[in-house]
Symmetry: D2
């Protein structure tokens, strides 16, 4: 009698080998097409840049991202060292330090990098999820934008130079510390105080959602003593010359325990006299935060969502091409085929839309209408694409069956958790839906709601446009949305951005 | 000049105090109404039992569930001890041992506990999420059911007695080890082998998703050597008299790293001659697994989903009543009001539906049609309610803004991750949708698809029933669903179960 | 050809079974003899108490001590909770909470427990090493002693009652916070400040070695504002009614990372206005700390050292009786026999000495000479026995060969690390050697050094006494020890305490 | 009234700054003198090499060693990956990978590196403790030596080349797997089996102390089937071309939980047909293991012990020069002065002795007597120096008072634990004392014991030599040591090696 076999001989190797070899850009003709569409004459140059960064993102950076995701690798906080020195230092795994350093060395915010090249590189980087790089990049981008516009003091200019162009090959990393306990999105409710002493501003108070707690610099909001207006500041987070050793008048009270973006340290901090430099007029801080910093973050959430979806759709497809069940390939099941097609299409339309909105946003010399459109598109995309991303990743996980929720079987559970976090920061849905309504209501004297819709959806099917336009026409004029209209407003806004993305996709595919 | 305040004086205390005091049953009039509706003359007795268990579930067990959820508390595997003894022991935190022991001491599967009392208690227990209790309960319930029907050997009967009635006050815990590497849901593809030696069956092979890896006993599938049919066995997981010291011919190769239900140890195991006892005829194993074990698991997923939704809706409501943003209570925003109402209604209809389906399933002396209906309802509910649950918890998290994804701010991220896992095991959506289609197609000679729909939806609006019935009438007769029909089949099935739940809710509320 | 055997069939089981069954008291006739010798007429009662506590210490408490020693179980600090509440809470594993609660429920410091019963129980408890019980017991004992003598305020009396007699079955746990950064043993250098406000004392400053950081109360030294004298206070560590939730005006800055006693949380703390109650006259704090609190701690180090040695000697013997090398039992090697005999004898003489010194210390109505003798014996024993203990455990580890340094093969590495810590706190060797010299020098006008030696060593061999007496006669009169005499002073002091212990052992064995 | 100061302003900064700057070689004139004494004409070259490596060891490698010592960084074992592939991979922190790679890149075993340069570099590297480099270096050195003598097959020669000279800049790392469960030092008791199949040797069985479990290759002992003699083999630990992915027929069952050398993974392994290549004649394996591999390891323990002592003495001195107690510098206390002087002298004599013994061992063309002397010196030094090292580090810790046992205050607790492990492996004291006695007894027909002693101690005080010689004369002729002579034999052996070291020190200082 033969001996029974102890171990099941089944192997995932063909799948793993196939998966290991994928190049995010070189193996994604659609993405190349998107780049070609928007790059126009610059395609050769930008394509080359994309291929170069993809060689890193698809292999070495992917592996670093996976390695740092292990539970034991989560960032920890050291408040005091063994010798009674308050250090407030975030301890991260060596993999995170390496990845961050290599990614920032790309010089994404350098004056030598055009917006399209930047976004293409970011897209590829974002296919690896948060990985303690996505949020640092976004925050740094916002910091660069606001300092590009408003850096006046020598200190602010030096910071700008460090984060844009680097110093001795090392690039400054930026953070945004805006939210307080009493209200995440409600920046006007800030109680952090800025005090002018001997010509220098010092900040006092508590910030409750300080992502990129390990950064070199932060954009911070605070109210100048005696004022009700929120001012905007930039602050180095360490005492100059004492990086990673002595904080600039702040304590890191706690690292938050998050469901997603776990590799990224998000802290609660207390400012106890942190030196900071004003950015722009101190009574215009809110406008600069919302108009520049938050808007850029939201724009980038669109890109990140598209990248996650693209990755998720591909991961599912690669698995489905390998795996068999009930005697046939998963790709042989109509249900699976339909789902893969849905995911692929969703990822393509979101990608095309994200590039188009990015393009519209960065278009020079926009008139008032184009400016409004860009602003609303950014908000519409922020909430819709982040939710679509979560949904698509969830669908992709379902293709894997029970393996779908295993954190080390594929990257999907991590992307899923990251995406679920993306939904809730930089303005959750309710805040954005209300803001969009407020904006359009205010603008409606000049721009009829119907016209706003039809303007955005030029090129779309009339049958798609009509109901959206009708709902906007009905609801925008209302001073406030009544409870029974809320769901319809939500749906119409989603329909609008999806229709916009469909048009963008058609344009890309036609080019 | 006054000194700036270092710390923000904002306090969550009123919210936390309110939250801490909630009694899952006593503070939920709707749940009481459900119990009254189904209990009829037994209400006083079952209500008393519910109040008693709720006193534990709402406070002490809730706290144990929260405490064991910390990352450092995750179960770990010890394969060898320090003295070269292979132990294959799962190390769990003391909190998990305590909670499991207290919950199992409720005697849920005792012959003294009627089905309704059991499900009410389970519902309250499930409001705490997985907590290394939900899955052990489900698996034990399935084991009891299949052994109640098929235990013949003295060993099987002794196991049944241990898990049903306990021994010296300690109740046996059951597990199900069915899935293998080559196919999670595809039990017929099992390659595990059962070998008869000297009148005793021994199992050889690998199981890849062994939840409740710490259990006392498991229901296991394996093919008797030389047969293509899957047989069903029950096996003690330890050598008798060496509990937690020596395994019964198996190794635990690895604990899986899951996104959710993290407190529950899910293992990959190899059987190297595990002694096991047949359960029912060995050529009928698949039928017993699917018809009894899996069906009960799926039924319970419905209850668990409803419980999670009820908890999530309440958590969101309690927070919204406390929290202010932009100068007013969250409950003052129409958008929030609409969302809270949606969540509440979703949780109520799922709850009413789950109890009604449970009732239908446990109805005695069902004829062929009732049996088919119960079977299909269980599958329909399994995929729809688990997804609805994830969705409702996600909505509840959104009410919390940035706090929503913090694992220690509320239980919601944990429930969310648990629910996402629930979607993918015990039959993911695709498998169930295909099975339902197959079942109805096969039955359609006796029971027209339209009749099946209208029969289930007695009491529902004609406007709701008509499109569902039409879709069933069109798609059920097809031998196989074409790719373009898949999405419609999915939607019609969801619509069917939602309509059924709406009817159930109306009945409860009318009673 | 037969298949090669994969696994080595060697088993440690006989050793493990033997080891598991040992009762620390019932299986130690020597310890029983010690108790008989000192208990005299009370033997039956104390023997019964010892047997009862040994049933717990030898099995259940031993297992809890082992379980809490795993690295993952080390205490951690939570400074803020998830809801912005500063909690400064020490998180310990459930095993530690259980063990502490059960040990303290013995009522060791109750007025119903005589000193000999207390020390016998402590001895048995200490055979399990620190286990987050040894230090809490010692600190509580010191607190009881100093409050018994000096509690005057209602608050201090209530604290005393709580730690002595318990409240609702739960006994208060005491701590000692004396050492500051600038000097561990140098209490007079304290800079912590006590400020009297509205009739209440509040403490401000930093303590750097706060063992039992989770305690209910602490004995604390601080200088009343404006005074150079160190005052003694007792402080509740939590706000009354908010135990484990809100601290009494202190922050726990950090838990130290220690080589030994790792289960015991030792913290760095900052007092920010902690309410505290004076203990005795505020200008006599130093005397009370050193004379009562520290002296009791040192006395207990003697007991703990003896208990560790007893355990270590036994662990080595049990292993040597089982293990073979080069074809024979370890006990068959003369080298091993000699070492086992040495360890056994060292543990016996230290035990006999510790009980005798304890007896001498607690003797009522001591005259000036007896008081001096007891004081010096306590210090001599503190440094000598703690070092002897480390040495004996190290010898015991060597019997185990490579297994000796495996933390989970036996308890010895843990005991070794605990003992190494014991050497350095409560007065390290240099401080004690200097203090003994100072004491005897000061006393030498009334009590000649030679007479001090011969008085203590009554019953010892003249050949042993003579060189010690000669060295004392030469060195005590010196104002300060010159560098070349230091080693001789050290050796003579060790010789003295060892000779004293030998006499004690002879007395016990003769009885 | 002024506000009380919350935080104690005390600072360790001057100490830390001083400590941070120390160069292990450049700041140690004594070590330079040792090198000059042994290097003779080669001093300039070797001095330059020492200065270069010291620049790395004293700063960057020191910091890496400290960083990898954190508890969270301990190596862990991954037996299976997420995709059902048995990998048996040791996960180590990135710091360990970096340090190992940099240290091995020194090419210590290259044919371009002379023995003195090698030992000087090793000495400096060993000042950082184990750090997952000391043991890998020792094992690799032994492998090189035995393969240099016996590599015959192409495979063995390729391995030798890889570990000696590197390949593509990466150097192979060696391990030694000798000890089995039934006897650590008792290699002849090995039960591991070597089976010759189709011209290839494959190993089966269990090894219980497999340090450097992550290595590329191992020297392994096993008995050829049918033989009672232990054979020696070298085996690659991974399948060629699948490094860190697929093992060569072995499983890593468990990583041991050690008290010291915690950064070094020590495993229990099972060979299930590991391919291996014979090293030397298979009936001479034991001789080669003991005579080459173990002897080199023991020799290196002497170097490592000296390096630890040198580091510990310096750490204590630096702290004592900074710290004050009771109003004066620690260096002002005679007791401290005496202790620092003792430590310094102990570290110097051990260092001088270690270099002299190393020199004697590597002397070419030794006659029989010189060979015997070298062999005995290596064993004498092994046990005596490792114990002296533990003792000196313990004394150094005592200088730090309570800070001495804090793992992050200084490196001493780590060095202490590493040293305590060193005592017990590569032959614990009892094994060596017995072997030395056996060797001298056997040699005594040719070499009188007295002559052996006086020969070794040429240059020592007659008063020192006489009692040692007398004891040897009395005890060596005995067939076996009686129990009452064991302690004297131990003491005489220690006295011998200490006297030898004193002579060596005098020679160095006179040069």
């Amino acid at each position: 009698m033969s001996l029974p076999n102890r171990h099941n001989p089944y192997r995932f190797d063909p799948y793993l080998e196939r998966r290991a070899k994928i190049d995010y850009y070189a193996d994604d003709p659609f993405l190349q097409q998107v780049v070609r569409h928007f790059a126009k004459g610059d395609f050769a140059r930008i394509d080359a840049a994309a291929r170069a960064v993809s060689q890193k993102a698809s292999y070495r950076w992917r592996d670093l991202a996976d390695a740092m995701a292990r539970l034991e690798q989560r960032p920890t906080l050291q408040t005091w060292d063994a010798h009674h020195r308050r250090v407030d230092r975030v301890l991260r795994p060596a993999e995170a330090l390496t990845l961050e350093s290599e990614v920032f060395s790309e010089g994404l915010f350098s004056r030598r990098t055009d917006p399209l090249t930047r976004i293409v590189k970011m897209f590829l980087i974002y296919e690896n999820g948060e990985a303690c790089t996505a949020c640092p990049l976004v925050c740094t981008e916002g910091m660069v934008a606001v300092l590009d516009a408003h850096a006046e003091s020598a200190e602010a200019k030096a910071i700008l130079e460090h984060v844009k162009e680097g110093r001795d090959g090392r690039f400054g990393v930026g953070a945004q510390f805006l939210s307080e306990i009493q209200g995440g999105s409600d920046v006007p409710a800030n109680v952090c105080e800025a005090v002018l002493e001997d010509g220098a501003w010092r900040l006092f108070g508590t910030k409750f959602f300080c992502s990129v707690a390990h950064a070199d610099y932060a954009v911070v909001t605070a109210k100048p003593r005696g004022s009700e207006a929120v001012g905007l500041f930039v602050a180095p987070l360490w005492q100059p010359g004492h990086e990673n050793q002595r904080r600039n008048g702040l304590t890191v009270d706690r690292l938050k325990w998050k469901m997603g973006t776990c590799e990224l340290p998000t802290a609660e901090m207390t400012f106890e006299g942190m030196f900071a430099y004003p950015v722009g007029p101190l009574d215009r801080g809110l406008a600069n935060v919302v108009g520049v910093v938050l808007t850029l973050s939201r724009l980038t959430v669109g890109i990140a969502s598209a990248a996650s979806m693209r990755r998720a759709a591909r991961e599912a497809a690669v698995y489905a091409e390998f795996r068999e069940a009930f005697g046939q390939r998963l790709t042989g099941f109509p249900m699976v085929q339909a789902q893969l097609a849905d995911m692929d299409r969703a990822s393509r339309r979101t990608t095309a839309g994200a590039f188009k909105i990015h393009h519209a946003f960065h278009a020079p010399d926009k008139d008032e209408r184009r400016t409004l459109e860009a602003r609303e598109l950014v908000m519409l995309q922020k909430f819709a694409s982040s939710e679509d991303s979560t949904e698509t990743i969830r669908e992709a996980m379902a293709i894997f069956g029970g393996h779908g929720v295993m954190e080390d079987f594929s990257c999907l559970p991590r992307l899923f958790r990251d995406s679920a976090v993306n939904e809730l920061w930089e303005g959750p849905r309710n805040v954005l839906l209300a803001q969009i309504h407020r904006d359009l209501h205010r603008a409606s004297r000049k721009l009829a709601p119907r016209e706003f819709v039809t303007g955005l959806l030029r090129g779309a099917d009339a049958g798609v446009v009509a109901p959206i336009a009708a709902t906007f026409e009905e609801l925008v004029p209302l001073e406030a949305l009544p409870i029974e209209a809320c769901r319809r407003w939500d749906q119409a806004c989603r329909a609008l951005v999806h229709a916009y993305q469909d048009v963008a996709l058609a344009e890309v595919e036609a080019s």
